[in-house]
Amino acid sequence: MDSLIIKEGFPLLSFLIFFPLAGAVVLLFFNGEKFARYWTLAITMITAAFSILLITGFDTTTAKFQFAEVHNWIPQLNIHYILGVDGISILMVLLSTLIMPLCILASWRYIKTRVSQFMFSMLIMEVSMVGLFTSLDFVLFWVFWEFMLIPMYLLIAVWGGPRKDYASIKFFIYTLGGSVFLLVAIIALYMKNGTFFIPDMMWHHYSMTFQILVFLAFFLAFAIKVPMFPFHTWLPAAHVEAPTAGSVILASVLLKMGAYGMLRFCLPITPQATFLLAPYILGLSIAGIIYGGFTALAQHDMKKLVAYSSVGHMGFVTLGIFVLNIRSVEGAIIQMLNHGVTTGALFLCVGMIYERTHSRELSVATGIGKYMPWYVTFLAFFALSSFGFPGTNSFIGEFLILAGTFQANKFLALAAIPGAVLAAAYMLRMLQKIIWGGTNNPDQSYLKKHDLGIREIATLAPLLLFVFWIGLDPQPFLDMMHHSVVNLITQLNFIQQQAPHVASAFMR
């Protein structure tokens, strides 16, 4: 337990998990629509405000898990309630808590039926997201991992679009299918170590076969979640059918769980298998980047376009993770944040059009730039950010990932470049169509009085702030994760040097 810095006094992480839960319980008893909206907004804002305390109390000079809380849970099986955050997970926790109020704001008018149940699901989502990123006991982690499926399933299945049944079941089966293997791996690791405490499982010299099997089990679960090509097919369906807030959470936070899992489990628990299998995963990442780009280019449905762009962006993230050097992993984590901010914002933007035109078709939304100048201004900035325009957040992420990749292998990096070109192509195509369209646009003049309201600007403005903050001054974000990443990569290389027989020629 020396990898923990125990937090005395106020249990901040537990508060971040249980406060939304308490808020959700209240909604079971009072379910007026108006009350549900304001109540949930207040709960999420308070949670967000408290999560800021994480930053102020966070020590950026150590790689240890901070704000740790340790309690017995099921002592017979050596299962504990252990929470803690390091430089990697703190950013994910903050992303989850800060995006929630925006999701609530975006659902203000969008959700008209079963409002209090919707808000209940949203709060339960928040509980499981924060719980997942903070738990350091594998059983606890797995509980949150599975727990999260239920509210997400409900969000799609109850408040979704016309093909909601298909989408929600597909989402559920895919994710559940992956997590079965995760459970097997967890139990296997318990049999080896006699503990569920995650840091205690890291950096052991398990036998190579064991490592490969565990790695593959982890990888399948996380690759589906990311989603990596070719496990991505549930994503467009889920995104298209989910309500705006559901899409935002799905894109901003849920996809990050997969990448987070890879960083937290694959690399430290099965380091040698990681080295051995990294080349294949890099190949899949490049395939995902290119495939996502081409598919996004072909879409006529804006939500599908953004969904496929996610496949490409997350390809960059996994590329960064499995290049296995400090620059690229830092880039991957920054890119996870960026994707959360930018793609979340793009889904919000698509939702705003949908509320007005009741369609997500690009052809219906052509030429609205003339009537909704504020809207397209926001959209333009987010689209630029999405394809990595210099000065915006995604540029920093892509830059670091590609710099790390160039360091490892020049041809690999050059293979990823067409993905960046495609990103520019599909985003500019979307922008062109929405802002200008062509010579025979549908009549959009009814939108003249429906430019963004204050609530909508308040939803988008914070995200725009982050676009430029990370884009122009990323150092504070990098400082937070730096020691954790350095520790991760150093340990990884150390293990690798001790066992040179599995050296992968590709990574030299």
């Binding site: 210099p390 830059f399 710099a403 050059l414 470049i417 070109v421 192509a425 010579t439 001054d473 990323p474």
Partner: protein, 498 residues
């Protein structure tokens, strides 16, 4: 030619930030003045004038051998947005700020004369494009240059497609596809790879050392070099030149300022900045990159001129002339001798003033007569003597006849070919001069001495409004002045080559 380490006096100066903010702020103010056209144009004019004064105010410091810098944002170690004004920046900064001033007056006349739509958007984007150009001129590192290069691409898109008709959309699409694709495909990897090799992207303060570490493998350097040459597609070098003729669907002031001056000059400025400051003369000489580049762009010089001969649409002919002339600049720098570099760099200035005159004339003819094709223009010079007089002067500059500006370029370039002992390149210059005569002289001749097309009356056609004729005459006069007194701009060019 040895590596003289010119440890420049580096002075931090916050006015640099102001120079970038003026056009940006001007653009924002213009957008808010949708309902007051006169005030809107006045703001554009004031921003342009202010910018010119500010840029000129840097002259004494630069001539004293100083280098002004201003760090704006620090992103990562070795990666920052930093502004810099050195002699090389001044060449382009002076050109784009002074031509903005002239172009603001001209476009006021043009846009109002034709009662164009969306004039506010036009003016705002115009200012944003200048914001990008000035940023490119004043960038202290490759990242800042790339940032502003992309800003220029994005902000000029609405200008190219201004008419929002089928042709406009197609031209604008081609424009943005060419520019962003090549930037992402070539520049982005080149920049990141240089960052990985070098640890930072800051330009050195002389043209010899470059920033590529000396132990880099030759094939990597050559790959990076090709990426830079192709990546800055705004330079119009074939085979990625198609966007330029396509962009001629834009209103004429746009073609004039952006597609003859700002955008394409951003391209050549970046290309030459990369050749001289990223790779440096030492490395270019060692790997013998110069002369092959010179021959490579020679193809563009000759081919574009031949295509220009075949074009009847005046703007198209000017577009291909631009493609050809831009490669002069790269040709000069690629020969790697002091005189040829000077000739290439001064052509940034000389070509700018002459070409903007030519485009302005094309616009004036269109506003006065609605004519676009050269074959319809015979005899027109007698009705529009000032306009066509200016056209004649600018043509002379393109051809390189003394005492007009273009002569200075040709002189230095010819001296450069001899210094480099390249008879082939000498021939290229001579042939291209003949071709220049071939496609400009008939226009001027038939305008003054040709017969009117059948069935047209001599009367009824007069000069375009004064707001257009005056800028044309100013630009033409400047073309003559910098031909006779090239020293003001040459001092910067000489300071670059040391």
């Amino acid at each position: 030619m040895d590596a003289v380490s010119t440890t420049a006096n580096i002075v931090t100066n916050s006015n640099l930030l102001l120079a970038v903010i003026i056009p940006l702020f001007g653009s924002v103010v213009v957008m808010t003045l949708r309902n007051n056209p006169n005030l809107r144009e006045f703001v554009s004019f004031c921003s342009a004038a202010l910018l010119l004064i500010l840029v000129l105010s840097f002259t004494p410091a630069i001539m004293a051998g100083k280098c002004l810098v201003y760090p704006v944002f620090h992103l990562l170690p070795g990666l920052s947005i930093t502004l810099r004004v050195d002699a090389f920046s001044m060449i382009f900064a002076v050109v784009s700020s002074s031509l903005w001033l002239i172009a603001v007056c001209y476009s006021m006349g043009y846009m109002r004369g034709l009662e164009e739509h969306a004039q506010t958007r036009f003016n705002a984007c115009f200012a944003l494009a200048i914001f990008g150009s000035i940023g490119v001129a004043m960038s202290d590192n490759l990242f800042t240059m790339y940032l502003f290069y992309e800003i220029v691409s994005i902000c000029t898109y609405p200008l190219v497609g201004h008419h929002q008709d089928e042709e406009g959309y197609l031209g604008a699409r081609k424009y943005i596809v060419y520019l962003t694709t090549t930037a992402k495909l070539f520049l982005l990897p080149a920049m990141i790879l240089i960052y990985v090799l070098n640890g930072n992207l800051d330009f050195p303060h002389n043209i010899f050392t470059g920033m590529i570490p000396t132990d880099t493998k030759s094939w990597v350097v050559i790959m990076l070099y090709i990426f830079c040459l192709l990546g800055f597609t705004k330079n119009g070098v074939m085979p990625f030149h198609h966007w330029l003729p396509g962009a001629m669907v834009a209103p004429t002031p746009v073609s004039a300022l952006l597609h003859a001056v700002a955008v394409v000059k951003v391209g050549v400025f970046c290309t030459t900045r990369a050749m001289l400051y990223v790779f440096g003369l030492n490395l270019m000489t060692r790997l013998n990159l110069g002369i092959p580049t010179a021959y490579y762009v020679s193809f563009t010089i000759i081919m574009a001129s031949i295509i220009a001969l075949s074009k009847d649409n005046l703007k198209m002919r000017l577009a291909y002339s631009t493609i050809s002339q831009l490669s002069y600049i790269i040709l000069g720098v690629a020969m790697l001798t002091p005189h040829s570099i000077q000739g290439g760099l001064i052509h940034i200035v000389n070509h700018a003033f002459a070409k903007i005159t030519l485009f302005f004339v094309a616009g004036a003819i269109f506003v006065a007569t609605r004519k676009k094709n050269i074959s319809q223009m015979s005899g027109l010079g007698r009705s529009m003597p000032f306009t066509f007089g200016a056209f004649a002067i600018a043509s002379l500059s393109m051809i390189g006849v003394p005492p007009v500006a273009g002569f200075v370029t040709k002189w230095y370039l010819l001296v450069g070919t001899m210094e480099a002992h390249q008879v082939g390149l000498l021939l290229v210059l001579i042939v291209s001069t003949v071709l220049n005569v071939g496609y400009f002289a008939p226009v001027v001749y038939s305008a003054f001495f040709g017969k009117r097309p059948e069935g047209e009356v001599e009367t009824g056609i007069k000069e375009a409004p004064l707001t257009m004729v005056v800028p044309i005459l100013i630009a033409a006069t400047v073309t003559i002045i910098i031909g006779i007194y090239p020293n003001f701009m040459m001092q910067f060019v000489r300071a670059v080559t040391g």
